[in-house]
Every structure is written in structure tokens, then in C-alpha cells.
């Protein structure tokens, strides 16, 4: 029973060891990167989006043969397909295994260095990297050779040791661990972030809740929206910053649900309002109408946002609004639009009809200025109270951004250490033989500096020659 239990454990250890061996393989790493390159290059050919979106449908119409392959494969959502996510997961595991392997090696090397004095002495005597016969060589000559190689020396009783670039050994582990962190933060960030567009009328506010957004994308693990209030106190039409006119610029206030001011600032290009993990960018501006609808004595007020450009993202309420009477029975559909004449900037075009009749013969159209009204049905009246503008704000909640920057920064630091700081060690001793004295030199260096042994030999020979001269 016990033996069988150990057998199962052994078998599991072997399996884990095999998987680890597979994942840490350098060949696997290279092939995974190549596969990633090929996949994202193919993915870049296909516009990303739903098949119904204008970019994808235009591409499908222009490339029917390619589209017949790409769309069924889901390449219009190339960077969220199960295959791509699996590829990323394996790449992350492979990077993690490589990071672990490299860390283990650095650790083993450090331990070996501590306990290697005798082995170094043996190798120096029996198998040095090179030998320089010398008649007479003082410690100062060795020191000058080390100096020319820019190495720090530690003189010993018999062996002189010199090292440089010790930090270089940490480069590769730091790089690979940072990449693992980068994968993790990007992945977790995508799972928990939210990003949406909301239109806020100048002089009013909206809470950060799902209903306030025209478009909202949330990760599957995103919790509840913050509920904070996002207020646009005003929109300056010609705001200047950094010596440039920024165009319509909203002044935004971010308040806690209890009204406490958290942050207030202008939002313009390259200058979002930022509070902890929340970024609020100015996306666009548009015309807004504050309207009242109802019968005499029971008018209800609401805000209608009008997108200027039809092709721009719908970050606002639809411009078609269904109005109901006091009993809640739908009575009319109304479309609010820009006035037909561009010069008439203080008016709004209103197209209205009984429910479902906007495209039929009963549809009517009027241009209303503030204070103007139109009877929608019976005694129900639509009145334009005022025309103003709104700011379409991009609101992003993503805690991972700072951690992604830090991970990538660390990865670059590790990369620089690995690529440009080559760890080098030299051991030198004087050996007396029957044929005379000789300098035995043992060189150890990283792969990044293959010419180091030759350079070392040249430096020592130069020292000896200068001594001879």
C-alpha cells in the first residue's frame, strides 16, 4: 500500500518534471515566439471587430476569398480567440519555466563560487585558459593587466581573483520574471478593467453606473461600477495648453457617491483626469438639448444628446427617444438632430411620429429653438428648454496600468543587464615549473562576450612585454 503510494508520487513527480523540462526548453521558447509572430501578423491583416461593423464588412466585401477563411476562424477577433489565449498561456508558462531555470542556475553558480577555491586552484594548475611564461613578474603587473580590463581584484595568498559585471548574471532572471509579471498583470487587467463612453451635459453630472454609459465594455471579473459622480461643470470652446489650442475642453469634477470632491481638472489631449485607477479622457463633444415633455402642469424634463458625426462611436443615448404619456403608454418616437442649416447653431431638428411611424407618411419635422414646442399627440407637448453642449467622456478603470509599466521597466532593466553587463571572472597564479616561472590564467565569461579570453591574453601579454621593456 505504502509502496504503491510512493509509486504514484514518483510517477507524478516524473510527470511534473517532464512538463517542466518541456516548458523550459529553449527550442520551445523560440518556436512559441515564432508562432506568436506568425499569428499576430496574420491577425493584423483582418480588421478587428464584429462582422456587422463597417470596417469588417468593408474588408469582407473587398476580400471575399480571404474572408471565407478568416471570419469562420474568428480572426476578426484575433486577439481574444481561444487559440491565441492558449498560446499566450503556454508562452507565459514557458517564460516562467525559463525564469525559474535561470534563477536556479545563478543560485547554483553563487554557491559553487563560494565552495570552489580548491577546484579553481586545480584547474588553474592543470587546465588554465592560457599560460604566459615569465621570468620575473610583480603583483603590480598583474594589477595593471586587471586595470586595463577594468576588473576589480581580490588578492589572495596564492591566487588573485578579479571580477566585473557581477550584476550581469541577474539580468536574464530579472528579464524573464518581469515578463511573467507583465503577462500576469496584462491578463488580470483585461479581466477586471472597464472602459466606456458616457455623454455628460455641460453643467450636470452622471453617476459611474452601467446605465450612464452609451458603450461599456467590462472584463468578466470586473466588480461593481464605482458609483462616483462625474460632473462636467463647463466646456471651454477654445482652451489653450502647452502653447496649443486644445479645442472644446471640459472641466471635470470627480466626486465620491456622498459628494466629496476627489479630483477636478480640465481633460484634453494627453491630459486625462486621473484618480487612482480611473482615467477620464475627453473623446468628443456634441449638441445637447434639455427638453420637457408632458401635458400642461405635468411636464417632465430630460436631456437628449446629439452625436455630431454619424461615424463616431455611440457614446451617448440614442438620438431617437420614445416618449410616453402620464400613464406610461408610448405615444411618439422622436429623433433629435442637428439643424438642417449649419448656420442655425441655436436650433435643433425634431422629427416625430406616432410609435413606429418615423419612416412612414405620418412623420413630421420641425426646427425648434429654445422655448419652441410641438404637440406630439393630443395634449402631450415637447418643449425645448435650452440647447447646450455635452462632453463625450471615455472613462477607463484599470488598476493594472501602473504595474504593467513597472514590469516592463524591470524587464528592460534586466535586458540591459543581460545584454551589456557581461559577468567575467579571472583567476591568476604564478606556477614554478622546471622550465621556469609561468603565469597561469583561468578565464570565465558570459556568452555575450566571446572575445574576452583573447582580450585578456592580450592585456596580460602587454603587461609582461612592458615589464620586459
Amino acid at each position: 500500500m505504502v509502496a504503491r503510494g510512493f509509486g504514484i508520487i514518483d510517477s507524478r513527480i516524473r510527470t511534473v518534471s517532464r512538463i517542466y523540462g518541456f516548458l523550459r526548453s529553449r527550442r520551445l521558447a523560440v518556436w512559441l515566439i515564432v508562432l506568436f509572430i506568425i499569428y499576430v501578423a496574420i491577425g493584423s491583416i483582418v480588421p478587428q471587430g464584429d462582422p456587422g461593423s463597417s470596417a469588417v464588412s468593408t474588408w469582407v466585401a473587398g476580400h471575399p476569398i480571404l474572408a471565407a477563411i478568416a471570419i469562420p476562424l474568428g480572426l476578426n477577433h484575433a486577439y481574444s480567440t481561444p487559440f491565441f489565449l492558449l498560446l499566450l498561456a503556454v508562452l507565459m508558462l514557458s517564460t516562467g519555466a525559463c525564469a525559474w531555470e535561470r534563477t536556479r542556475r545563478v543560485w547554483l553558480r553563487t554557491r559553487r563560487d563560494v565552495a570552489s577555491t580548491k577546484r579553481v586552484a586545480d584547474r588553474l594548475r592543470d587546465k588554465p585558459t592560457f599560460v604566459i611564461p615569465v621570468e620575473k613578474l610583480g603583483a603590480s603587473d598583474v594589477a595593471s593587466a586587471f586595470k586595463s580590463l577594468r576588473m576589480r581584484t581580490t588578492p589572495g595568498d596564492e591566487i588573485t581573483e578579479a571580477r566585473s559585471g557581477r550584476l550581469g548574471t541577474l539580468g536574464s532572471p530579472i528579464f524573464h520574471w518581469s515578463l511573467v509579471l507583465l503577462f500576469l498583470f496584462v491578463g488580470l487587467g483585461q479581466l477586471t478593467r472597464s472602459e466606456g463612453l458616457m455623454g455628460v451635459v455641460s453643467g450636470s453630472s452622471k453617476p459611474d453606473v452601467e446605465a450612464s454609459y452609451g458603450v461599456l465594455t467590462t472584463g468578466p471579473l470586473h466588480g461593481a461600477m464605482s458609483g462616483r459622480l462625474i460632473a462636467v461643470t463647463g466646456i471651454e470652446r477654445s482652451f489653450s495648453a502647452n502653447g496649443l489650442t486644445q479645442g472644446p475642453t471640459p472641466f471635470i469634477e470627480l466626486r465620491d457617491a456622498d459628494g466629496t470632491l476627489l479630483k477636478a481638472d480640465y481633460a484634453y489631449s494627453n491630459h486625462p483626469l486621473r484618480y487612482r485607477s480611473t482615467f477620464i479622457h475627453m473623446n468628443a463633444d456634441g449638441l445637447a438639448a434639455v427638453v420637457s415633455v408632458g401635458s400642461a402642469g405635468s411636464m417632465g424634463q430630460s436631456e437628449v444628446l446629439i452625436d455630431y458625426a454619424a461615424e463616431s462611436p455611440t457614446g451617448v443615448q440614442p438620438t431617437m427617444v420614445a416618449f410616453s404619456n402620464a400613464q406610461g403608454v408610448p405615444i411618439a418616437d422622436v429623433v433629435f438632430d442637428l439643424p438642417p442649416s449649419a448656420e442655425n447653431t441655436v436650433a435643433v431638428a425634431v422629427r416625430y411620429a406616432p410609435v413606429g411611424g418615423l419612416t412612414g407618411p405620418d412623420a413630421r419635422e420641425v426646427v425648434l429653438t429654445p422655448g419652441g414646442s410641438v404637440a406630439l399627440s393630443g395634449d402631450v407637448v415637447l418643449r425645448i428648454d435650452r440647447l447646450t453642449s455635452y462632453a463625450r467622456l471615455s472613462v477607463v478603470d484599470d488598476w493594472s496600468v501602473a504595474y504593467i509599466y513597472i514590469s516592463f521597466g524591470l524587464a528592460l532593466l534586466g535586458l540591459m543587464l543581460a545584454l551589456f553587463v557581461s559577468p567575467r571572472t579571472l583567476w591568476v597564479t604564478r606556477v614554478e615549473t622546471e622550465s621556469g616561472a609561468a603565469l597561469h590564467v583561468l578565464v570565465r565569461h558570459a556568452r555575450g562576450d566571446a572575445a574576452f579570453p583573447t582580450r585578456t591574453e592580450n592585456a596580460f601579454r602587454a603587461s609582461v612585454d612592458s615589464e620586459g621593456a
Binding site: R26, R27, A29, V30, I33, V34, F36, I37, V40, A41, G43, S44, Q48, A78, Y79, E195, N242, G243, L244, T245, Q246, G247, Y268, S269, N270, H271, P272, F279, H281, S394, V396, V401, I404, Y405, F408, G409, A411, L412, L415, M416, L419, F420, R447, G448, D449, A450, A451, T454
Partner: protein, 279 residues
Amino acid sequence: MTATVEILLMWATVTAYALSAALFVVSIIFKQDTISRIALGMTCAGVIPHVAAIVGRWVRIGHGPYIGFYEVVSSYALIGVVIFIALALARKPFRAFGVALMPMAFLALGGAMLASKTEVAITPNLASYWLVVHVAFAKLSYGSFITATGLAIVHILRLSRREVKGDGFFASLTPESLDDLTAKFVSAGFVFLGIMIAAGAIWANEAWGRYWAWDPIETWSLVSWLVYAVVLHLRRTMGWVGKRFAWITIAALPVLLFALIGVVIVYESIHGAYLLIGG
């Protein structure tokens, strides 16, 4: 500096680079050290009007050379040539590198001269310090990779003449030193390209609220970075040194050039404006 003076300076540069390229080829064919010296002098003579034209335009229009094919490619050519001059002055044998780089610089600059030279004012979206970092490191990385490719070409030429003795300045240019230097430039380019991508991501987050959107040029910058990651991986962990390393370094360049020029022509991208404005 007026636009006319700038154009005249640029044509003077193109002429100098063309002559320099021709002289470097002649110096290699006829193994004439003197001709290579003249070619290097011609290169230096070409850099002076090149720098003057770029600085003059910068001062006149108020932003660095990063909007439009003309500005972008001209500045890349300048970085490549300046790196070459620095190498050639530091070590005489590296003059041989001119035979690979100067024709590339001449063709790039000639192509840039045929593109539109429309002057585009900086827009609020482009007014970011991160853009300056992004562009500066883009130029450094492209300059490094182009230099690495030039060195790899010279390395392969040198290997084909390994047995030839007294071969002009080729003789003192050992394949090992060329291999080492190529690797150093690939490494530097890789780090610079990484910083460029990071700065671009930070800028995108500041400008649009997202650090990565799989925009074609973002994707191809990542592809370029990963291609060079493979190149370095093959060298450092799988022992691809010498001729094999030189060949993969050369093979990687077209991917980089496609990311720079091809993507904005082939794809619709928010980045397209930087290269195609006025074109």
C-alpha cells in the same frame, strides 16, 4: 531657414551620399585605402548639410522630424550615417561598413526627396513628451538595426575573403570582431525598440486611455521586437554565431522596414498619418 534652402541642402546631401557610396564600392573593389578615406570625407561632408536641413526645418515648423515620410526617413538615414562615421573614426577597418550603409542611406534619402515635403503643424494629440521619447528611441533602434545589418553584410563579405592576405582595410577587420559588434548593435536596437514600444504605450494611454489596441503598426512593432528577440535567443542560447548570426540579422531587417514603411501603406491605421501626411 527657408524651405528652398532646406531643399538645396538636402540635394547637396543626396549628392554627397551618392558619391560616397560609389567611392566606397570602388575602394573595396580596387582595395584602395586612399579612396576609402576620400569616401569617408565625402560622407562627413554630406552630414553637415543634412543636419543643417533637419535642424532648420525643425526650427521653422516647430517640431522634430517625425511627421511624414520625408522627415521620418531622412532622420533615420542621418542616424545611420552618424553611427557609421563614429565607428569609422573610432576604428579604421570599419570604413568597410560604408560599402553596405552608404548605398542604403543614399537610396533612403533619395526616396525621401521624392516624397511630399508638406509642413504639418503639431496637433494637440502629438504634443506629448512621451512622443519625443517614443520617436527618439524609434530612431535609435532603427539606426542600430540598420547598422547591425550593414555590419552583418560586411561580416559575410569578410568571411568570403578569409584566405585573402593584404586585403586593404578588410584584413584588420576580423570576423570575430564583426560578429561581436553586430551582436552589440542588435542588442542595443532591441533595448531601444523595447523602450520605443513602452513609450508609445504610455503615450497611447495618456492620449486615448488604452495602452495597447492591436493597431497594425503597434502589432508590427511588436512583431519586429519579437523577431529580434528570436535573433538574440538563437545567438545566446542556441549558439548561432558567426555566419548564421549574420544571415539572420540580415533576414530580420525586412520585417523592421515593413513595420516602418510597409504597414502605413498597406493598412489603415491611426499611425498612418505620421508617415503619409502630405503624401
